[in-house]
Amino acid sequence: MTRTPNRSRQTQRLLAAMLEEPSTWRYGYELLKVTGLQSGTLYPALLRLSEQGLLEAQWREADEPGKPPRHVYRLTRAGLAFAREQSVPARKKAGALLGAKA
């Protein structure tokens, strides 16, 4: 099942955070700290991006013994293109605002 397009502010924040280090695999909790999103918002957004083929996820063994394996995430090639495309209007908007102030 695929769902609503990724236009929400929360998803934009997530995409922007993942775009900062596009090749790095990120943990869910790490993404929560970077984006400031709540887990109740973060996971549905990650799930949606994954369903759309914009995000890849894999299991990784924990660094500490006795801890369970963790999911890590990064954008796919399509996800990167999408995130870059999404960030352009935001940059243009910010530029326009700065231009208007100057």
């Binding site: 397009p5 943990y27 909790y29 887990s39 996971y43 949606r48 801890k67 999911h71 796919t76 999408f82």
Partner: protein, 213 residues
């Protein structure tokens, strides 16, 4: 696996959230992440958020099941019938189909259409047209929902808007004639709540979908 009270609550919530989540892999992902959070209070907030996410995902997946769709379709059909009821009663009375008027009157408060004659007489001709239009919009919304076409929720809320206008007009007629069609305020409120909640379900069910890349 030790920890304080908050941590134990968080773990219990997380286990539940992981079970509720329709995608088991994602449920396990949320669950395992909890052990990487050092602070108990943060872990508890994390678990509460995951529980919300789990139930949200469960609700989303349930909305796509055939039985929920059938239930919503039934509710919309019921609402359409509700819109056609008053115009049909008015039509039956004015055209002197008194058998039909009597039959319909048995389904009104007081079980007798004659109680409603002052209201029927005071009803302007465009008001039944408004109700019929609302009923037709409900039926079109239903048809579009069943065909999985876009715009069914919009049509539904348009019908809801027409129904509200009709309800306001009916209220003024009731005030002028002194006859209350549905005296039980709870029954009236239940009708509007049912309509609104059906609309919300329909909207959630038919939100625009993004295709996988």
């Amino acid at each position: 696996m030790t920890g304080g009270f908050s941590r134990r609550i968080a773990r219990a919530l997380m286990r539940h959230a992981a079970r509720v989540m329709p995608a088991p892999d994602w449920g396990a992902a949320m669950h395992n992440e909890l052990e990487a959070i050092a602070d108990d209070q943060v872990a508890l907030r994390w678990a509460i958020g995951c529980l919300v996410a789990g139930y949200g995902e469960r609700a989303n997946s349930m909305l796509q099941t055939w039985y929920v769709r059938l239930g919503v379709a039934g509710l919309i059909a019921l609402l359409a019938c509700r819109e056609f009821f008053a115009p049909l009663l008015i039509f039956a009375y004015r055209m002197h189909y008194l058998g039909l008027a009597h039959f319909l009157g048995l389904r009104t408060a007081g079980d007798d259409y004659r109680r409603l004659i002052p209201v029927i007489d005071a009803t302007l001709p465009w008001l039944p047209v408004l109700w019929v239009a609302a009923g037709l919009l409900f039926l079109i919304a239903l048809w579009r929902m069943l065909r999985r076409s876009e715009g069914s929720a919009l049509l539904f809320f348009l019908a809801f808007g027409l129904d509200l206008v009709g309800a306001v007009m009916a209220k003024s007629i009731e005030a002028s004639t002194g006859v209350v069609v549905t005296p039980n305020i709870l029954v009236r409120a239940a009708g509007e709540v049912l309509m609104l909640s059906t609309g919300v379900l329909l909207w959630r069910m038919t939100r625009r979908r993004a295709r996988p890349v």
